[in-house]
Amino acid sequence: MFEKSLKQLGDALRAKKISSVELTQSYLDRIAKFNPELNAFITVNPEVSLAQAQAADERLAAGTAEALTGIPIAQKDIFCAKGWLTTCGSKMLSNFVSPYDAHIIAQFNNAGAVNLGKTNMDEFAMGSSNETSHYGPVKNPWDQTRVPGGSSGGTATAVAARLAAAATGTDTGGSIRQPAALCGISGLKPTYGVCSRYGMIAFASSLDQAGPMGRNAEDLALLLNTMAGFDERDSTSLQRDKEDYARDLEKPLNGLRIGLPKEFFAEGLDSDVAQTVEAAIAEYKKLGATVVEINLPNTRLSIPVYYVLAPAEASSNLSRFDGVRYGYRAPEYGDLTDMYEKSRAQGFGEEVKRRIMIGTYVLSHGYYDAYYLQAQKIRRLIAQDFTEAFKQCDVIMGPTSPSTAFKLGEKGDDPVQMYLSDIYTIAVNLAGLPGMSIPCGFGENDMPVGLQIIGNYFDEARMLNVAHQYQLATDWHSRAPQA
């Protein structure tokens, strides 16, 4: 049952082979058993989940079920869900029960999906290892001495360890793709604007994008069908016709042109990852694809640009966490300024504070032009690189992460080493393009390796097709860690 795809689960539910209450309970049991060591969930709420399952069963009985009705899906704790503790991995929101639903949550609720719980994450989505969470690090289910990646590490571990049928993530610089790669699952970051950001706690507004994480491309397509769509409450949400992201899954790949950026296969890439990714490319050639080398000359500037822009936006986005209206307030303080300083000093973790300081600095009078404006200019150049590249190819492929999952604590003291683990994913966010990661084998320590697929704007259906065809020909995506 835990190996079934979402489509198979949906079929079983509609055929009454299993009830949503039974399915939900069995996932809750697995969470109860494995979560204490994996720490993938911050909050589970069995009564609420089972009540939702009960309602889904009624809907299934009434014959009004949709594709995801009755299927338990875990939600990254960055999404506000009415009545649920919504912490964003931070002490700052450790007492915040959301009075409203994020658009994404409402979409799943309307589809009749069951909210299985809120998954652990790096604090305010700032991190690549899930070690910045106030709720403690998540363990990689393939090797519990290793990180699951971040920031959607709780989601990645939950899906990989079969604690949830599927789950949501968010991706600001790689936070869906990198943990998907490190945990051996599939994850998709859509084109910026495809999924509404309403109710998704903002890290860097111009980069944040929600997306599905699951065990295969077919599942991702079903999830994205529910998540995507225009929302008037998000001014950056795109007004486009509703599309079926599963429509092209079965198309053959004959004639597919794959662009390989030479910058993605250069210094800094571990050789086991390089070999595994190259083997995947070889597999694609067998499926009828051709390969062309492309240049993305400005991607080398992605990390510095990102670490100006994302902290700049974050420093402002996180100003609302001031201890005045909700969230953490220091128990003792003197005057107003002291209350702000103590509440924020105690409520935020080190990485969040580091980025608030960087962001405040780059926006300061006298530095704005040199940092923020300059970074915006380079951001446009990075996007232009992709526009040029897509004249020669249909999709771009490369490694998702330069290495497999590293050890817990290994990069904790070196933020720059940590930032480098997103070197292949960040440019995609800066350009607003869709990107995904699918499992394509294992590296030296038997840890999963992810293949990154980058598409042109709104090419999600084609990317899912490209991933699905690979998954028909290989079985990396169905490998599971030993329980």
């Binding site: 903002a202 409450r233 998000d234 001014s235 100003s319 609302r320 005045v324």
Partner: protein, 484 residues
């Protein structure tokens, strides 16, 4: 050499939209604290702003009314600072790309002492859209502060002038003209008590021909009287400082209406670094020329255009009357409707009556034009009867007083009160003959050259006719008969 005063104003006009600038919560004034604070007003985690089109339309109207450049593309920026009534920790405003660019406003500065009334053009630097903050309530909380976020997110248009004003009187004239204009084009209710129209004044002094002095900004002046008092105090204070050898330090100050003094709030060194940057939650605001033309089509005739029209109607000597009549849209509309009833030939009479009788009665009763108990058609009805000699001016005043108190139409009141004047030449001649016969000595004196006595005969005749004799006719007949 004398001191020159340099003043620029920043006015925050609250735009009259039903809902807030970035969310659907109500903007109504006076509700229980925080009952109009929705998820966006509270800045809950995850909420996002969505621009209210009505606020943009009002900004466009303002731009059109001041002949300003309207930016085809403007940008919302975040102004970052911490304060408990600023829920997001930043205010969404506009910074380097405002929606309304340079414009101008012609102001009427009233006569003062020997100084005659004059007109002056004040340049507008820009006007931009932004959201208001909430309110901190320091009373009633015993050492704590209450926060009311009902006002948080209310749309404001911040209108910035060039430092073109040279006296408190000019600053007040500018503020009044702006206040009248925003109400005229119906983008702001202008209620100063409720904070719908607030002024900040940048004031400096220098000797002519020398560089401008350092300015101090007086914040949040919410009446024209306070604006005038605050500037006058500040100017005096700055001159005294400089004359006693002190330098003016750039600062923000507050005006205390109780003492009539300004006091320091913060100096430039203590000023925030607001770290403005474009708000990534909002797309650039794009205004098409089609949209502008659509709004231009809905614009009312503007006060300056109407003033020119009134001068044409009333004669070139009536610039003052035309200015008074266009000081509010209600008064101008009243005048137009009155002229429509009484006829364009009687426009001057309409103007005099509205500026005189109607305004005096409104003032006496503490009413504004919108609450006037008589309609412009009713007033026009009276004036028509003056024009056709049915009633005299004094008779008309009686009709007006009755109408004001009891209502009714002019003709009915004239009939009921028997105010119709006598225009029968025979009857007047008979009357005049009687007066001449009864006052032989005065007649002799008059004929001996004492012209002043003419008024005596008019008075006697009017008295005899119980005020109903047609004055023009009476004058004519009297003159003829007295001449002998």
């Amino acid at each position: 050499m004398s001191w020159e005063i340099v003043i620029g104003l920043e006015v925050h006009a609250q735009l009259s939209t039903q809902s807030k600038i970035f969310c659907g919560a109500s903007t109504a004034f006076g509700a229980e604290p925080n009952t109009q604070a929705d998820a966006v007003s509270l800045a809950l985690p995850g909420v996002l702003p969505v621009l209210n089109k009505g606020a943009v339309e009002r900004a466009i109207k303002f731009g059109l009314a001041t002949g300003a450049h309207l930016a085809p593309r403007s940008v919302f920026a975040r102004k970052n600072y911490f304060y408990p009534d600023l829920p997001k920790g930043y205010q969404i405003s506009q910074f380097d790309l405002p929606v309304v660019g340079q414009g101008q406003l012609v102001i009427q500065v009233p006569a003062q002492g020997k100084q005659q009334a004059y007109e002056k053009t004040v340049r507008l630097t820009r006007a931009h859209l932004e959201e208001d903050a909430g309110k901190s309530l320091h009373e009633d909380f015993h050492g704590m502060t209450g926060i009311d976020l009902n006002r948080a997110g209310t749309p404001l248009l911040e209108i910035v002038s060039e430092p073109d004003m040279r006296s408190a009187a000019e600053a007040v004239a500018y503020a009044k003209k702006l206040h009248s204009l925003v109400r005229w084009i119906d983008i702001c209710d202008g209620n100063m008590q409720e904070g719908s129209f607030r002024c900040d004044a940048n004031v400096s002094v220098h000797k002519k021909g020398t560089p401008l002095g350092t300015r101090r900004e007086i914040k949040n002046l919410n009446s024209f009287r306070f604006l005038e008092q605050a500037i006058n105090y500040e100017v005096q204070w700055q001159i005294e400082q400089i004359e006693s050898g002190n330098e003016i330090v750039q600062a923000t100050v507050l005006f205390d209406p109780d003492t009539g003094e300004t006091r320091m709030m913060r100096t430039k060194e203590e000023a925030h670094d607001y770290r403005y940057f474009p708000d990534p939650d909002l797309l650039p605001l794009e205004i098409s020329s089609e949209w502008i033309e659509e709004i231009r089509g809905e614009m009312p005739e503007l006060p300056d255009a109407r003033q020119i029209r009134y001068i044409g109607l009333l004669g070139l000597t009536s610039a003052y009357e035309a200015g008074v009549l266009t000081s509010s849209r209600e008064m101008a509309d009243f005048f137009d409707a009155c002229v429509a009833e009484a006829g364009p030939n009687n426009a001057k009479m309409c103007a005099n009556w509205i500026i005189g009788e109607v305004n005096a009665q409104l003032n006496r009763d503490g009413l504004d034009m919108a609450q006037c108990p008589i309609t412009p058609q009713q007033l026009g009805g009276i004036l028509k009867r003056i024009a056709d000699n049915t009633i005299s001016n004094s008779g008309a005043k009686e009709v007006f007083r009755t109408m004001w108190a009891e209502g009714g139409e002019a003709d009915a009141i004239i009939e009921a009160k028997g105010l119709k004047q006598v225009s029968d030449a025979g009857a007047i001649e008979a009357l005049v003959d009687e007066i001449i016969a009864a006052n032989p000595s005065q007649v002799a004196e008059y004929r001996g050259g004492k012209d002043k006595l003419f008024g005596f005969f008019v008075g006697q005749a009017m008295k005899a006719s119980k005020g109903k004799a047609n004055p023009a006719q009476l004058n004519e007949i009297l003159k003829k008969k007295l001449a002998g």
